[in-house]
């Protein structure tokens, strides 16, 4: 047990790989076993990950569950894992959503089941590794390889223009990551020039001295990599395609976990490595975020395709998260991290409902639905809760995150925050209007006449997410008390640079006068 707890992160990362080896000998015709075994194994993985939560010490910013072994001494790269309050919850979210999406695809995935479950588990390994890695090379390894299983999931089980979407997704993110790689290599070499040691240890790389001009260039390089992943406003064009064409499980993972990597990358790498550039460019990023909030909301309103609507709502929600992160106040960053979870939970749930609708009606066009509420009360209730959580109704999780973000950001960027806050109103418009058109009104489509209500499997799929919506909405303390110390430490680490940055601004201002 002691060994287990000590190496819990490695166990978590590699358990899905072990699961894959358990699944390999299963005959591909035996789909029942494949589905159930893989779901069961991902449930075991989720239960393992709960140990992280149990044994995680709150009220400290220090990295926990640290493991460190030499990996490539020539590059100073090590197998260095550890989590803090932020990555803890992202890891829990990942294991939960993997379980949920495997459980959700019993009906959706009809062909090549074996390949599908193997790719999902492979994806899980790489997602967990990305959140746990504290070594830049290790992080990059996990980060970039993650694209491959996702690419197959979209391309092989997607709908419509799936190949185009999959290739677009890979090429977009790959281009971003490669430019980011340039930035990371540059920082790595700079650190070598300054200390004479090769190291990829992120905690040591934080101490690299980088001049202000260079910070800006490197920040832009890293920014491209992370912003495409989020995606921030002008870089979002891959997202609607990928989300819309992906199978339900793919969309859930894509929205629930993959988008979080961009924000996590800013939090863990871009801002602490290049704090002054982050301060200098923060207004710029915030403007983009606010544009993203409004743009995502406006485009969502006019969508005819249900899944595209949810996809564009992601752009809007991710804008909120970036607004909170770059406002750089403790409250707003707390809100951002909470909102990361909320978005994963609520948008994940929305994609699941869209998937269920699609499985039953074989359409995603909003106009084809209507009057479902009468036929399927359980479905309607759960769908309603998820929509309201996404809108940000008090008492549900979305409210907590958005409230914290807006309160925290208001002090530094009052005007932009107010403009951004209107995004919540628009969210109510597009989500509730959508809900009305889909669930209420008259039945127009004969297929809706015998709409089945949710069965037990689907209820089990959705229930953990609904519980979390209420839990975070009513009692966010267990989350906040773990996130807050990390965020405070993050701020205190970069605030020193803020002082320097202000001083420089002051000086240049004086010299101009």
């Amino acid at each position: 047990m002691d060994f287990f707890i000590k190496h819990l992160l490695s166990v978590l990362i590699f358990f899905p790989v072990v699961s894959i080896f358990l699944l390999l000998p299963v005959n591909k015709k035996n789909e029942w076993l494949l589905r159930n075994l893989s779901t069961f194994l991902s449930l075991v993985e989720f239960i393992f990950s709960l140990y992280l939560f149990i044994y995680f010490r709150p009220n400290t910013y220090k990295f926990q569950f640290v493991e460190k072994f030499n990996w490539i001494p020539s590059f100073g790269a090590s197998y260095f894992l550890g989590i803090d309050g932020v990555s803890l919850f992202l890891i829990l979210l990942t294991t939960l959503l993997t379980f949920v999406s495997l459980l959700s695809s019993y009906r959706y995935i009809k062909t090549h089941v074996k390949e599908f479950v193997i790719l999902m588990l492979l994806l899980e390994t790489f997602m967990l590794g990305t959140f746990a890695a504290l070594d830049v090379l290790l992080f990059y390894l996990f980060w970039e390889f993650m694209l491959i299983p996702m690419y197959f999931i979209i391309g092989m089980w997607g709908t419509g223009n799936r190949v185009y979407s999959a290739v677009k997704f890979v090429l977009y993110t790959l281009s971003g990551s490669l430019i980011m790689l340039f930035g990371l290599i540059y920082i790595f070499i700079m650190h070598y020039d300054q200390t004479g040691n090769f190291t990829f240890n992120i905690l040591r790389l934080y101490n690299t001295h980088i001049s202000d001009g260079l910070q800006l260039i490197l920040f832009i390089a890293l920014f491209l990599g992370f912003a495409i992943k989020i995606p921030l406003f002008p870089f979002h064009t891959w997202l609607p395609d990928a989300h819309t064409e992906a199978p339900t499980a793919g969309s859930v993972i894509l929205a629930g976990v993959l988008l979080k990597f961009g924000v996590y990358g800013f939090f863990r790498f871009a801002i602490p490595l290049l704090p002054r550039a982050a301060f200098a460019l923060a207004p710029f990023v915030i403007v983009l975020s606010v544009i993203g909030i409004l743009y995502g909301a406006f485009v969502s309103i006019v969508q005819k395709d249900l899944k595209r609507l949810v996809a564009f709502s992601s752009v809007s929600h991710m804008g909120f998260i970036m607004l909170g992160l770059f406002a750089m106040s403790a409250i707003s960053i707390d809100g951002s991290v909470i909102q990361l979870l909320n978005h994963g939970i609520a948008t994940g749930a929305l994609f699941l409902f869209v998937g269920m609708l699609y499985e039953r009606m074989h359409t995603r066009q909003i106009k084809d639905f209507g009057g479902i509420a009468k036929k399927a009360p359980i479905f309607t209730a759960f769908f309603m809760i998820s929509v309201l959580a996404s809108v940000g109704l008090p008492g549900l999780n979305g409210f907590i995150g958005e409230f914290l973000i807006l309160v925290g950001a208001f002090r530094s960027y009052p005007v932009l925050t107010i403009i951004g806050a209107s995004g919540i109103i628009f969210a109510a418009v597009y989500l509730l209007w959508m809900f009305q058109r889909v669930m209420f009104q008259d039945v127009t489509n004969p297929a809706a006449e015998n709409f089945e209500d949710m069965n037990l499997r689907e209820i089990i799929t959705i229930l953990p997410l609904i519980i979390l919506m209420f839990l975070i909405g009513f009692y966010p303390m267990p989350f906040l008390e773990r996130i807050d110390p990390t965020v405070l430490h993050f701020l205190s680490a970069i605030n020193h640079h803020k002082a320097v940055y202000n001083l420089i601004k002051l000086k240049t201002g004086l010299s101009n006068a």
Partner: protein
């Protein structure tokens, strides 16, 4: 005679012979394979196949036995030390893969086998001579030896017009390149009075430390040397298939028998890069002319051109040929980056490149042999479901070409790119990274074809034995399977646990300078 470090109590001849033992073994076996053709009973394809493998095995054994030696043979014309050990092993692996791939291919095409295998072995020995040569004449002779073997092998498919055309193109252009090489060597000799690379090195060192040109023969020397080095570079760049000298590559790769394409893409390229690395680090590095700028241009053009052309080609062999031009550009970045770190990165990348290329070609040969899938990429549609293992392996090799992590291609790229950043070539690295992103498109295009066909797989059904194991109805050759498995394991290993290979490359790069 030069001051040569003496090996304990060994006389000149013994030492010289020792320095070329691995090559000699290969040549002896090449003759043995050739002699098989005299006896009707023995001249079966299988015999020459196994004999060649045994020869390569013995040669590897000798290389390993001599691996800690540092031998100068034939008045310093031939060197054998850690640098050679690394490259010999890589070259012998490339030869081994070529032989392994050939068995069924020869069977199907009905060409005479002993000559074919002996030519491969002769080519191998020539590559090894080239890598260990330390003398301009040696360099020229071994390049010629190697090229002649390659010309013949390229045109080996008798009666096939494409093959003959490829051989002729390769030969004519190759002859030009050799002329340039020789002319360059003449210029260098005229300027320095030396043929030995180390001697030229110390001569140039004297010039650059003397500062003024008058002391050692005036401005004329610089002009001669520059002209010589440029022409020498042209000759070598032809063999490395760098951009303006690449035009033979797609035709020769396409027309040659596929195992020979692999031989050219891995072995010849490796040998050419290795000798360029040695000559570059010894001679070009002086401030006679800014050769790094020339190489910079060559690298950028090779990458960009190779990738664009690969994007447009629909034949898998041509695509791999163009992609190999692009890969040559990436490898060159390591040499430009320079220094211990850069050279070691170059060697690492070369090793990684061999395994991924050989693996990819092995897959191509499998489908070519089985006659169900031609070289057209369109015919690869849907094979991902029919042959899961082979298709997965192919995808992995392609991802390695694209430089996705977990593959040796990523580690190699990371290594050479970081060495270039270290030396301040930021733009070069940025261009290379953008190129990698661009290149990913056409590698992924093949994966798309294999796994995501537009409609359900239209490729003709197999012998209806309902085979689910991913192996083409038992007809698959063990040699090819072995090649794929070895390449797969090593590509993965070099991508995940590269440290052993880095140590090996470091060791080798370290000895490059030990004069």
């Amino acid at each position: 005679m030069h001051n040569m470090p003496l090996i304990y109590g060994m006389n000149f001849l013994e030492k010289s012979m020792l320095s070329i033992i691995p090559e000699t073994v290969i040549i002896i076996f090449a003759f043995m394979v050739l002699f098989l053709a005299f006896f009707e009973k023995l001249a079966k394809r299988k015999n020459s196949y196994y004999l060649s493998l045994i020869g390569i095995g013995f040669s590897i054994l000798y290389v390993l036995m001599l691996s800690d030696r540092n031998i100068y043979g034939f008045y310093g014309s031939v060197v054998f030390n850690g640098f050679e050990v690394f490259l010999f092993i890589a070259i012998l692996f490339s030869g081994m893969f070529t032989v392994l791939m050939s068995k069924d291919y020869m069977e199907n095409s009905g060409m005479p086998a002993p000559e074919y295998y002996s030519l491969i072995l002769f080519g191998l020995s020539a590559m090894m001579f080239l890598v260990s040569s330390n003398n301009l004449i040696m360099v020229f002779l071994s390049i010629e030896f190697m090229s002649i073997c390659a010309y013949i092998l390229t045109g080996y498919i008798k009666g096939d017009t494409r093959s003959t055309e490829a051989a002729l193109k390769y030969f004519i252009l190759g002859a030009f390149a050799s002329a340039f090489l020789l002319f360059g060597a003449v210029f260098i000799y005229a300027a320095t009075g030396h043929l030995n690379l180390y001697a030229i090195h110390s001569f140039l060192e004297n010039i650059s430390y003397a500062g003024s040109n008058k002391a050692v023969g005036g401005i004329g020397i610089k002009i001669y040397i520059s002209a010589g080095l440029v022409m020498f570079l042209v000759g070598l760049a032809f063999k490395m298939s760098l951009f303006p000298f690449h035009s033979w590559t797609p035709d020769a790769y396409d027309g040659a028998p596929t195992p020979i394409t692999n031989f050219m893409a891995t072995g010849i390229k490796l040998a050419a890069f290795a000798i360029f690395l040695r000559i570059y680090s010894l001679i070009y590095n002086f401030n006679i002319m800014n050769f790094n700028d020339i190489l910079w241009l060559l690298a950028v053009f090779s990458m960009t051109f190779g990738n664009i052309a690969a994007l447009l080609s629909s034949n898998i062999k041509r695509l791999l040929a163009y992609s190999s031009i692009a890969q040559a550009g990436y490898i060159l970045i390591g040499i430009i980056g320079g220094g211990f770190y850069g050279y070691s990165g170059t060697l690492f990348y070369l090793l990684a490149y061999i395994f991924m290329t050989a693996g990819a070609f092995a897959v191509v040969v499998i489908f070519e042999n089985s006659d169900i899938i031609s070289l057209d990429i369109k015919r690869y549609a849907g094979i991902g479901y029919k042959y899961p293992f082979i298709a997965a392996a192919m995808s992995f090799f392609l991802l390695s070409f694209a430089g996705i992590p977990l593959t040796s291609g990523f580690m190699g790229k990371f290594y050479v790119f970081s060495s270039a950043v270290k030396s301040g070539y930021n733009w070069l690295v940025l261009i290379a990274l953008l190129n990698s992103a661009f290149a990913a498109f056409y590698y992924i295009k093949i994966i798309v074809k294999m796994y995501m066909p537009d409609k359900e797989p239209a490729s003709p059904p197999l012998n209806s034995s309902g085979d689910n194991l991913g192996i083409i109805s038992g007809a698959i050759d063990d040699g090819l399977m072995l090649t794929i498995i070895i390449c797969l394991i090593l590509t993965l290993l070099m991508g995940v646990f590269p440290q052993i290979f880095i140590n090996f490359a470091n060791n080798s790069a370290d000895l490059l300078w030990r004069i």
